[in-house]
């Protein structure tokens, strides 16, 4: 007998297993999947902030900071070391988020979104204008780093990068899930429901949001380093507002209510984008727009929510355990 709980328990593992088999079964998609998984880390960062009801239109800032930091480090060391790059990039993003976050967490809603946008655009212009440091709009090329001291050829390196990224994504999903279940994570959700009550409980809403902000920036940073390493180049486009908008788009598409939405959303988004760009190059933006509209109007919990309601319908014993379909983004005050 298939019950909803069984399907829900098995499916994430089945999806991960399928992903892990891709290099053996369908090697052509391996690089594309590496990029998608790197992007899903940044989407996960946006989802963290969405728990508090805040949306950032400038999170590509942290994506770019980490990618550039890793590129500088790698180029100064003649290739560098992937582990070192990942650590340094993530730490840089988190450190910048800590400093600007002290100011930004004082704002909510549209002001929060716009200030993030402003910061990312300032950084974008800096990357474009200061040619001698950042390579301008051509960006910087990222040399292939060593992996734990070993210099790998292109093929093995890409394979290692794929599995490394997959491992980091799984780690990030578990970590973020635990953060959101922790007292601080619950308080983040309270910011969305009713911030004033939170303050009356003696909790500093700003400090709670700051913790979430730093975590989300670190996740974006991790994704940025992986993306630039996989692409071998980093350009100012990493910080552009369109990329920030893309992260938010994917978060809503996948389902902002749970961490798994980041991965499911990114995979679906990249698939649609690849096919739309190939078969309908003129209107791919229109297709994405229509998809976004349909998701918001008819499936506000995203793909994850659709899947949950589907399993609920076919499951023989409807259960409520672990059902978080109620905490959709739209469940405001």
């Amino acid at each position: 007998m298939t019950t909803r709980a069984q399907i829900l328990r098995v499916l994430p593992y089945a999806l991960l297993l399928a992903l892990a088999l891709v290099p053996q079964v369908y090697p052509a998609a391996q690089v594309l999947l590496t990029l998608a998984l790197a992007k899903s880390l940044a989407v996960l960062g946006v989802i963290v902030l969405l728990q508090a009801g805040q949306v950032s239109f400038g999170h590509a800032l942290f994506f770019a900071i980490a990618a550039y930091a890793a590129a500088f480090l790698g180029n100064s060391m003649g290739g560098g070391e992937i582990v070192l790059s990942l650590v340094l990039g993530t730490v840089c993003s988190a450190a910048v988020a800590l400093v600007v976050g002290v100011f930004i967490v004082r704002y909510r809603h549209i002001f929060f979104g716009m200030l993030n946008l402003a910061l990312s655009m300032i950084f974008f212009s800096f990357l474009e204008k200061f040619y001698h440091v950042t390579g301008g709009s051509d960006g910087l090329s990222v040399a292939r780093p060593r992996v734990l001291g070993m210099a790998l050829e292109r093929g093995p390196f890409e394979l290692v990068l794929f599995y490394g990224t997959l491992g980091l994504v799984i780690g990030a999903l578990v970590l973020t899930h635990r953060f959101l279940s922790s007292p601080v994570g619950q308080m983040m959700r309270a910011i969305k429901t009713n911030e004033v009550r939170l303050e009356y409980l003696g909790v500093s809403a700003r400090n709670v949001l700051l913790a979430g902000y730093v975590l989300s920036a670190a996740l974006c940073g991790l994704g940025g380093v992986l993306m630039s390493t996989a692409q071998g180049i980093v350009t100012p486009e990493y910080a552009w507002w369109v990329r920030s908008g893309e992260f938010v788009f994917i978060a809503i598409l996948g389902g902002a209510g749970s961490v798994g939405g980041a991965v499911v959303g990114t995979l679906a988004y990249e698939a649609v984008k690849t096919y739309a760009a190939a078969f309908a190059a003129d209107i791919w933006q229109m297709i994405l727009g229509v998809v976004l509209l349909v998701v918001i109007l008819f499936a506000p919990n995203g793909l994850i929510g659709l899947f949950r309601s589907w399993t609920r319908r076919i499951g023989s014993a409807p259960e409520r355990t672990g059902d978080r379909a109620g905490d959709r983004v739209g469940a405001g005050e």
Binding site: L50, I110, I122, F249, D282, Q285, G289, L293, L297, G332
Partner: protein, 301 residues
């Protein structure tokens, strides 16, 4: 920087601010009433510009009188407001007022993406340029600087007329007073029998028309290219946020501030040009979290 350059920068700033104001005031009006920050507002600006430039180009090539450029702008703005803005509010935004802010913004973002491709499908990727209106009004020499009458006098006058017209319209006409009532307190407005849905529709059409009018006026001074809507929406967001959400006069002052800041940056430090709006916004919001003219709202407990 000599006196002539200062004057030139001031002129540039004023004519630019007039256009930005027209777009930003529509955005802030719509936000004040509907409480939705409309990303698709930039699309109305681009549609107004495209419609005016392409239709203008066609009718002037067919030999019609050049003064028709001015009524054409007004017509294009109203038509886009009613025919594009109207259905969007009625059939789409009307369904999402119950959703949370984030989702409302994303719905308008989706509309923006769709309209971007619609523009590309209708007008293609090549730039349009149609300066008949600009050439009609000739030039004027002030402080030894020759400048077009269109940019130096016509655009600011239009902006001021719109500002005064909006203020008087909201205070003196019945519809204006209803709009003000809905802005102040929607629930109370419903209780006394105001048809809120109709007010939403009217406000949205006015706002969309203002954006399209801004685009129509801008089409005479600059090439109409893909992506112009995106640039303008980001800029007018900055103006609206800096002024304080829903502030009409505030939007005028802030548009002037940002317009002047930008034109001075062009002469003094060109690298900073695109950054000026963000830097001003950042500076203002750090000191006044609700914007220059915004008021602190009471929070629900």
């Amino acid at each position: 920087m000599n006196a002539q350059l200062v004057a030139l920068a001031v002129f540039d700033g004023i004519s630019y601010a007039a256009l930005v104001f027209l777009v930003a005031v529509g955005l802030t009006l719509v936000f004040g009433v509907l409480r939705v920050l409309n990303v698709a507002h930039g699309s109305f600006y681009a549609l107004g510009a495209y419609a005016t430039a392409s239709v203008g180009g066609a009718i002037f090539a067919a030999g019609y009188a050049p003064w028709l450029a001015f009524p054409l702008m007004l017509l294009a703005a109203v038509l886009i407001g009613v025919l594009v803005g109207g259905p969007i509010e009625k059939f789409l935004l009307g369904r999402i007022y119950e959703l949370e802010d984030v989702l409302q913004i994303l719905v308008t973002f989706a509309v923006f993406m769709i309209l971007e491709d619609v523009q590309r499908l209708i007008w293609g990727g090549q730039p349009f340029f149609e300066a008949t209106a600009l050439n009609q009004l000739g030039t004027v020499t002030v402080f030894g600087i020759t400048y077009t009458v269109y940019q130096l006098i016509f655009l600011p006058v239009v902006a001021i007329v719109v500002l005064i017209g909006l203020r008087l319209g909201l205070r003196r006409t019945l519809t204006g007073r209803l709009i003000t009532a809905v802005t102040e307190d929607r629930e109370a407005a419903v209780t006394i029998g105001i048809d809120v849905e109709r007010i939403y529709l009217i406000t949205f059409i006015i706002g969309a028309s203002l954006a399209a009018f801004g685009g129509a006026l801008a089409s005479a001074t600059t090439s109409v290219v893909p992506g112009m809507g995106a640039d303008m929406i980001v800029l007018s967001f900055a103006v609206v946020a800096t002024a304080g959400l829903g502030q009409i006069e505030g939007a005028a002052v802030t548009a002037l501030l940002i317009g002047l800041g930008r034109s001075f940056a062009v002469y003094l430090w060109p690298e900073l040009e695109v950054l000026i709006p963000y830097i001003i916004m950042f500076g203002v919001l750090l000191v006044r979290p609700s914007g220059l003219f915004g008021t602190v709202q009471a929070r629900k407990i």
